[in-house]
Structure formats: structure tokens, C-alpha cells
């Protein structure tokens, strides 16, 4: 995750024509990576697409026979009342997580870009959520959210508020899992944005200060625009990570109560291993892949535009 190279400028040797053997060698170097992608991404992806068009049951695992049913699985999935719930929850979960992870991560990154005593130590401590296995974080949050004996409600009662039914009410459960995921995601945003900030030359800030720009103006006119390429990467990666979050939700709520935290990923798992409707589970998985790909393409387009802008 340290591949942060902000503001790539156009190659100075762009005009040279590559010779034939050079191109052959280039392909040769690409081959291992290509083979890896085909075997470990291409094949499972294709298998998943095929599975989503089959009536794949427990029996199929043994016999290998799964009748082709066309788009019936997709029809079943789209017709299921849980579909809209899962989509809405996925959108809320992803958007909620991203906005706060990014906002808090950026604020912390700016804060830590100033040099002060203990800055490095604090920064490494803030990495902790990132280093913990997700299931451990999830289990601890589940324990903290407990309505009667959880530490969160104990704190709320202490300052005179009522206990919140974090995980046992359908209204609070989704905010609770989003909160957990925000906490987990902050370090990632902090680290990468901090790296991006370090790449902005200090002389620019000195010049701005000389011109009489205040802290907010410096952020608004220097930091924010110069950080844009990094921002794009952070948000894109964050989106792809968040949209496929499974373990956090599974550990904290199991998709409940009453499907209040059911997202496309948890629903896909449930269709496959709860209902044994493997074809439908695969169909939901494919919908998710499609959405993630769409955002990936959007990002590539915007990145291209940024590059063109930078080159011009």
C-alpha cells in the first residue's frame, strides 16, 4: 500500500519508437503476471459467471451436473424483496464509511504534517486498527456495542444519555457497523494522505505564508488541489475495499437484526450457504463485481483526465 507517487508527469522520451524485439521482450516480462491474472482472477470470475446461469445445488458439487437456467437466478435475485434492502445497505455502508474515513483521515493527516513532540509515536499508534485482524476488531466492537453491559452505553449513561440499542434495533445496527468500519479504515486514509502531503514542497507554503495566506487559504488553494491525485487513489481503493466488506458485518451483526445490515456480500454468502442456492449467490456476487468494475473504469477515466491536465 505504499505505491503513492503523486502527480506523475509525462515521460520525456515519449517520442521514441519501440523496436520489434523490445516489444517482444516487454510481452515476455508481462507473461508471468498475465498468467497469474488469468489463473487466479480470470478463471474464478468466469466460473462464477457460469455458475450464476446454472441451477447449482449441493448435489452439483458431487455430480458436476448443474442444468443451465439462463437468467433465472438473476430474475430470482432481483425479484427478492431483500435485493433492494441489500443494495440500499451496501450504498449507505460504502458512502458512510468513505466520507468519514476520508474526512477524519485527511484531518489527521493535516494535523500530523505539522511537526511536534510525539507526532511520530501518535501516528504509529493510530495505525493499530489497521494492524488488527478484522475479525478481532469486529468482535471487540460487538462487545463494546452490547446494549446492557457494553462500554459505549456505559459511557453514554455516565454523561446522562439513554442507552442506545446499537445492535439490537433495526435502526441503529447499520450506523453501528458503519462506525466500526470507519474506525478500521481511518489509518489507511491517514497514511496515504500523509504521504501525499509530505510530497508537497514546503517552499510553496512558505511563499503562501509570505503572501499572507491563512491556514484555511493554504489548505484550500495549496494542499487540496495538490493532493488531488492522491485523493483519487485513496477514494478509489477505499470504495473497492468497502463495497466488498464481509467479515466486519458478519462478525458484528451477522446481517441482522431482521436483515438491517444485510449487504450484497453477506446476502451472497447467505444465499449460498444458508439457502444452498449457489447460483443465486453467484448472481449477487456478479452484480457486486459489475458495480466495482464500473467505479474502477470511472476512476481510470478521471485519472487519465488528470494526467492530461498535468501534461498540458
Amino acid at each position: 500500500m505504499t505505491l503513492v507517487a503523486p502527480a506523475v508527469t509525462a515521460s520525456p522520451r515519449a517520442g521514441r519508437k519501440p523496436r520489434r524485439e523490445n516489444r517482444f521482450a516487454a510481452w515476455l516480462f508481462l507473461l508471468p503476471a498475465l498468467a497469474y491474472v488469468v489463473v487466479f482472477f480470470g478463471y474464478p470470475l468466469a466460473a462464477n459467471v457460469v455458475m450464476s446461469t446454472q441451477d447449482y445445488t449441493v448435489k452439483s458439487f458431487y455430480t458436476g451436473e448443474a442444468p443451465f437456467v439462463g437468467l433465472a437466478n438473476y430474475a430470482a435475485v432481483f425479484g427478492n424483496p431483500l435485493f433492494s434492502t441489500a443494495v440500499l445497505n451496501t450504498v449507505l455502508f460504502t458512502a458512510g464509511s468513505l466520507v468519514f474515513q476520508f474526512g477524519i483521515g485527511l484531518a489527521l493527516a493535516v494535523f500530523f504534517s505539522g511537526r511536534f513532540l510525539g507526532s511520530a509515536l501518535l501516528r504509529s499508534l493510530l495505525l493499530l486498527p489497521w494492524l488488527l485482524p478484522l475479525v478481532v476488531s469486529g468482535a471487540i466492537w460487538r462487545w463494546m456495542f452490547d446494549q446492557d453491559h457494553g462500554v459505549l452505553n456505559a459511557a453514554l449513561r455516565l454523561v446522562g444519555f439513554d442507552a442506545v440499542p446499537w445492535l439490537s434495533s433495526t435502526g441503529w445496527a447499520l450506523p453501528a457497523v458503519i462506525l466500526t468500519n470507519i474506525w478500521i479504515g481511518i489509518p489507511f486514509n491517514l497514511v496515504i494522505l500523509h504521504g501525499g502531503l509530505r510530497a508537497i514542497p514546503a517552499s510553496l507554503y512558505e511563499a503562501a505564508a509570505l503572501d499572507g495566506a491563512g491556514a484555511w487559504q493554504r489548505f484550500r488553494h495549496l494542499t487540496w488541489p495538490l493532493l488531488r491525485p492522491v485523493t483519487g487513489i485513496v477514494l478509489m481503493l477505499g470504495l473497492v475495499y468497502t463495497i466488498k466488506v464481509f467479515d466486519v458485518i458478519m462478525v458484528v451483526t451477522g446481517g441482522g437484526p431482521a436483515n438491517a445490515t444485510q449487504t450484497l456480500t453477506t446476502w451472497s454468502y447467505r444465499l449460498s450457504f444458508g439457502d444452498f442456492a449457489f447460483g443465486q449467490g453467484a448472481a449477487v456476487g456478479n452484480v457486486l463485481i459489475l458495480v466495482a468494475t464500473l467505479f474502477g473504469l470511472l476512476y481510470l477515466r478521471s485519472a487519465k483526465a488528470t494526467l492530461a491536465e498535468a501534461a498540458a
Binding site: P44, A47, N48, V50, M51, Y56, T57, V58, K59, S60, F61, Y62, T63, G64, A66, L134, V135, V136, G138, A139, R142, W143, D146, Q147, D148, H149, P165, L167, S168, S169, T170, F246, D247, M250, V251, T253, G254, G255, G256, P257, A258, N259, A260, Y269, R270, S272, F273, G274, D275, F276, F278
Partner: protein, 408 residues
Amino acid sequence: MSSVRRALMLTAGALLLAACSPSAPAGSPAGAQPAGSITELDYYADEQGSAAWQKILDTCAAQTGVKIERQKVPTSQMLPKVLQGASSKTLPDLLFTDNPTLQQVAATGALTPLSDYGITTDGYYESIVKAGTYQGKVYGVAPGVNGLALIYNKDLLAAAGVQPPKTWDELKAAAAKLTKDGKYGLAFSAIPSEEGTWQFLPFFWSNGAELSQVDSEPAVKALQYVTDLVNSGSASKSVVTWNQNDVADQFVAGNAAMMVNGSWNLARLDEQQALHYGVVPIPVPEAGAKPVVALGGEVGAVPVTSGPTQQAAGKVLSCVLSEPTMLEWSKAHAYIPSKTATAAKFGAEQPAMQAFVDEVGTARSRTAELGEKYPKVSQALADALQVALTGKLPADQALKAAQQASGS
């Protein structure tokens, strides 16, 4: 920390989701092994249960002369692992799996009838035989079974002047009376999975409801009863997030005076010197009725591998099912022997287990009626439980939705 362990199991299951692609590369057929050694798969992953089970396997390895290579996986990983094995033809030679799973595995055609190995079902509880029967043939038999009972804190009940409840009315009154000082009268699990359904079934079945019609009047009444316990505050609203380990934690911590839980938790309660508990059968709707709990426990099955290994696995299974091993396993893991005569002997020796022994006589197999269709109905029922307990829909409408979801 049991919740952490559980969480780990879930992730492991999720990882297997990816591993379970339909056409996983075909491994070497299991038949290559010499018949002198077999592979065995079970999910006794917790420390105590695993050690007790290992002892049983060691005993049977010595008795039969078959070398047993044991694999254990977390519960949630069992079925994915078996399906993966089925698709790559690398099934274990001997399998011990949760009894409602057996129908799914048998339906794949991957299991052999136990009559092939001279294993008969004479003397077993009928419900256990039913749980292991698929399309008229017995594919799995359990060395021991379990069920749910009402476990109560003797000190808290005595202090409140409450007798252990026998009927629904008594349970309701006792739970209300015991709810005070931040403690709840009753704790149970109602999570959105098979575990939640399994905890609800004793109320559902004892009231005369049937899985083939989950929105019948007795079913609605049973769900209403459980919902009332939560709505009146006698049970925590958090039951929708507690698994059975969490419920036991609450009971051990003194946060609940009574709990619905299984015999396998008794060892944990015994570790608490200051905790004095008693066990009674699950309260019934009317005095004199029999409690009907769902039958739990793992059945042993022999997958299709090769002739010699199948025979060797059959020998080992026969040994596990013999009376001495059955008794040893039941004692070590707080299970009830699955043969009626052995269970009677066991109950006489272990008074704390008598309530469970009594219940096994009237217990039902979850899959006897629906077979392979059970998981879908179970999922729908767990959903209805959550919907009603969180107040999203009244009990009758929640079950109507469940009937629609499970009927399709």
C-alpha cells in the same frame, strides 16, 4: 473470548466460499490409500471437545487396528469443506457432521448406506434414526445427542422465592419476578441463523406447530410468547445478537437468572465455583404436556471412497457406536447416549443430565419432515424471529412472510 473464536470460524467459512468453486481441480482419488489407514473429519474444534473426541478415536484405532488421520474444522466450515471434497473427489473416509447437514450431503450421492457395514439401528431413539435417514436408507448414526433445557441459577431463584418453572405461564411469571437490579429473568439466543431457529423450535414444536406450515396458529402463538418475553423486558432485546456462547456468558456473569441452553455448556458452568445451577426441561405450554426440543448432535457417515477404506471406516464407526465408547463420549462431552438403554443407564449415573435424557425421548429431528428443504425453512424462521423481536412486524405477519419465503 468465545465470540472471537466464532468470528474466526466465520471468516474461515468465508474464505472457503472462494475456495468452493464448482470445478475445483480434481485431486487424487481417495482410493489410493491403504485400507489400514483412514481420514476422519469432524468439527470438535473447542479444546475440551476436541480432546475428548481424540480419546474416542484413539480407543477405536487401537481396537480396530485402523490408523485414523484426523482433520477438524470449525463448525461453519464443515459443509463448505465437504462440498469442496465432493467436487474434487477428496472426501474423508469417515465424517462426523451436524445432523441437519446429513440430508444435504446424502442428497449429493456421496454417502454409503450404513447397512453395508453391518451397522443396524436397533435400540436407538427413533428420532435419531430419522435424522440419519435419507430416502429410506440410514446414512448416518450419532454416538451421542443433545438438546436444549432450561438452566437456572439456584441462588437467584431461591432469593426471589421462585420455583423452577414447568409451564409457559410459570416461566413468564418467574422471568418477570427475576428481572431486577439490571439482571434479566431469562436469556436465549435468537441470532439470524440455524442457531436462532434451533433455540426457537422447542417453543414452536411444544405448542404443536409444524415446519411444513410455519404461519399456523400454534406457530404464531409460540412466536408471540417469545416476543412478549422480550417486549415485557424479562429478556434482553440483545437476544437478537447473542449466540449460545454469549447466552452462557451472560448466565455465568449473573446477568441472567435462567437461560435456554444445551448440555455441552454444563462443563463451563461447573468451572464456576460460586455458581449453583439446576437444569429442568424446557417449560411447556400447558401443564402435563411433553416438551418437544430439536435433536442435536453429530452423525457419523461413510462417504463413497474405495471398497477397502470404506470397510475400514465402517469398522471404526461401529466401534464409536459401541456401548462403552458411546458412554465414554457422552460423559466426556455432556451428550446423551443415542441408544435408549444406554441413555437410561447414563441418566441414572449423571443426575444433572436427567432433564436432557428425559427430553430426548420426545425430541424431534429437524430434517425428518422436510429433508433437504429444511435449511431454507430454517433460515426463513430465523428471519421471522428477528423481525418479530425487533418489532418490525407483528408475529403473525412475520410468520406469513416466512411461509412465503420458505414455500417458494
